[in-house]
């Protein structure tokens, strides 16, 4: 076990180091592709903790990405601090907002939580669009020049952190508590789990990651406006990637992120007109063939055919319920 853990850490460090070292050698186009992919993977990992492990399907974690982006832009345009310190502050503010917001929103269950989070994101988007200090609908333009490579490195670091945090959740007592409350909150409570505390902590992790990524995005675009900071596209992308790869699994966001961004990129290059239609069609097919995602489907195949029936959940449960 400890040998496996050591090998895992070594492999993880090697992958991150390789990505960091290759950055300067990438052309503008490939650096952009690599940045977008890492951003999507980081957002997917952030989303996966509250939505996958804890089962609170959020349509509004982009709220914290927006808070991170605006905070960074404001600090960068009014002070001479290093933008990475500003981005850290953005992450900190996202967590500070998420603590009370989570305590309130997590009282909602199921679709009401999902819609509540969507409402929170839209509310902040409107606030940003109508406030003076955020530049209103025009947003804030940044004059400070930050190279795309620096943003790529920052995003790589945050995505690596998000992955490491997920490993910690996946392997820990905390993760088991989250999975238990995802399945049945009341039963988890009667078995001694402090449900509210666990949910809020998961929510904070799922706010910190997008909060830290938002600052990099602002610097990358040299602009923050409401549609980019509270980007519906980025939110949906993170959700789709995670669901495709395997929601609530360690590898799901990574597999989904790499595969989906490649498919998306290739389709866009070859069929610019029909790209969204083909992409949507593929997604429907995948959801029908592997409803729990690619990673659980592969895992259950490796464990042997007996478990594959159970991967779809409902039929086995129905059969088991017969006395």
């Amino acid at each position: 076990m400890s040998l496996r853990a050591a090998l895992g850490i070594a492999l993880f460090a090697a992958v991150v180091a390789t990505l960091a070292v290759t950055g300067p050698f990438l052309s503008g186009y490939w650096l952009a592709v690599a940045y977008q992919t890492l951003l999507a993977i980081g957002l997917a990992y952030g989303w996966n903790v509250i939505s996958g492990y804890a089962g609170y399907f959020s349509f509004g974690q982009i709220t914290f990405f927006g808070i991170g982006a605006y905070t960074t832009a404001l600090i960068a345009s009014h002070t001479s601090l290093d933008w990475r310190i500003a981005a850290l502050a953005g992450g900190a503010l996202a967590v500070a907002v998420a603590a009370p917001a989570g305590a309130i929103m997590l009282r909602l269950r199921g679709p009401f939580f999902s819609l509540g989070m969507l409402g929170l994101a839209q509310t902040l988007r409107v606030v940003a669009a109508s406030s003076g200090f955020t530049g209103g609908g025009t947003g804030l333009y940044l004059t400070a020049t930050v190279t795309p490579l620096a943003v790529y490195e920052w995003t790589l670091a945050v995505a690596a952190l998000a992955f490491a945090a997920t490993v910690a959740v996946d392997r820990s007592a905390f993760g088991l508590r989250l999975r238990a409350l995802r399945e049945d909150e009341q039963v988890a409570g009667t078995l001694g789990i402090a449900v509210t505390g666990a949910k809020v902590r998961a929510f904070l992790i799922s706010a910190a990651i997008p909060g830290l990524l938002g600052g990099g995005y602002a610097m990358y675009l040299t602009l923050v406006d409401p549609p980019s900071a509270f980007s519906t596209r980025l939110e949906l992308q993170a959700i789709v990637m995670t669901v495709f790869g395997g929601i609530g699994t360690l590898w799901g966001p990574l597999v989904g992120g790499v595969v989906m961004s490649q498919i998306s990129e290739q389709l866009w290059a070859r069929f610019p007109q029909a790209y969204l239609m083909i992409f949507g069609g593929l997604l429907v097919v995948f959801l029908i063939v592997v409803p729990r995602g690619v990673v659980p489907a592969i895992a259950s195949r490796r464990r042997g055919g007996s478990r594959s029936a159970r991967a779809s959940g409902a039929p086995a449960a129905a059969a088991g319920a017969e006395p």
Partner: protein
């Protein structure tokens, strides 16, 4: 000797229906108390009040001197009160071991230690062959055992068993009776909700409380309760002599 659990004057109403009316009872450390009554008598509601799931409109429930009414679920559990649900509620997508490990987390702290302990508990209820399967693969009888294993993994001083006999075959009922008696020999108090299996009620119970339409109509040793004319009437209808 003061009781482990003291329920005093508990009333619960759903709309105009009184699910419990002014119910008081004691559970002593290590005893088996059976709560007997027909469907709808208020057994599950009583379990919900004691385990913290439902707040009563009046009355109190004290465990070891601590008031349970208004206490969050997990704190009730950590005091040492475990419960099973009438309709079994496994964590479907967790393995059998992890279902049980969840209940062991508060004492064991790490997941590895909780799983190790959970394996012992899973084996003690005869589910070791299924330990690494998803709980959704279990049959109803196995799921009932899983509920018991989760309750045991809390290392409780009191277990509330809601409708323990429901849905079991006669052989399984006998096994369940042995299990309940086993709890007593380990010093764990049990409150067993049982609808109508009087043979087993007589065998496992130290004392019996009879509920009818939300009110306590009798309490005492099995022999006393079975001779009580009100119990006979509530349970079996009017006495034979009146027919």
């Amino acid at each position: 000797m003061s009781a482990l659990l003291e329920v005093r004057g508990v009333s619960v109403a759903f709309g105009g229906v009184h699910a419990l009316r002014d119910v008081s009872l004691d559970v002593r450390a290590g005893e088996v108390l059976s709560i007997v009554g027909p469907n709808g008598a208020g057994k599950t509601t009583l379990f919900n009040v004691v385990s913290g799931v439902r707040r009563p409109h009046a009355g109190s429930a004290r465990f070891d001197g601590r008031e349970l009414v208004g206490m969050p679920l997990h704190r009730v559990a950590r005091l040492g009160i475990a419960r099973t649900y009438q309709v079994v509620r496994p964590f479907h997508r967790l393995s059998v071991v992890d279902n049980v490990a969840v209940a062991a987390l508060e004492r064991e702290r790490t997941r590895t230690a909780a799983r190790r302990f959970a394996r012992e508990v899973v084996a003690s209820v005869g589910l070791e062959r299924f330990a690494d399967m998803e709980a959704s693969a279990l049959t109803l009888t196995q799921r009932k055992r899983l509920e018991l294993a989760r309750a045991l993994a809390l290392r409780p001083r009191l277990i509330l068993l809601d409708e323990v006999m429901a849905g079991l075959t006669p052989t399984e009922m006998d096994e369940m009776a042995e299990f309940v008696l086993g709890l007593r020999s380990r010093g764990i108090a049990a409150v067993a909700g049982i609808e109508h299996v009087m043979r087993l009620v007589m065998r496992v119970s130290d004392r019996i409380v009879v509920l009818d339409a939300g009110a306590k109509i009798a309490e005492g040793s099995p022999a006393e309760v079975m001779d009580d004319p009100r119990v006979i009437e509530a349970y079996l209808g009017a006495p034979l002599s009146a027919v």
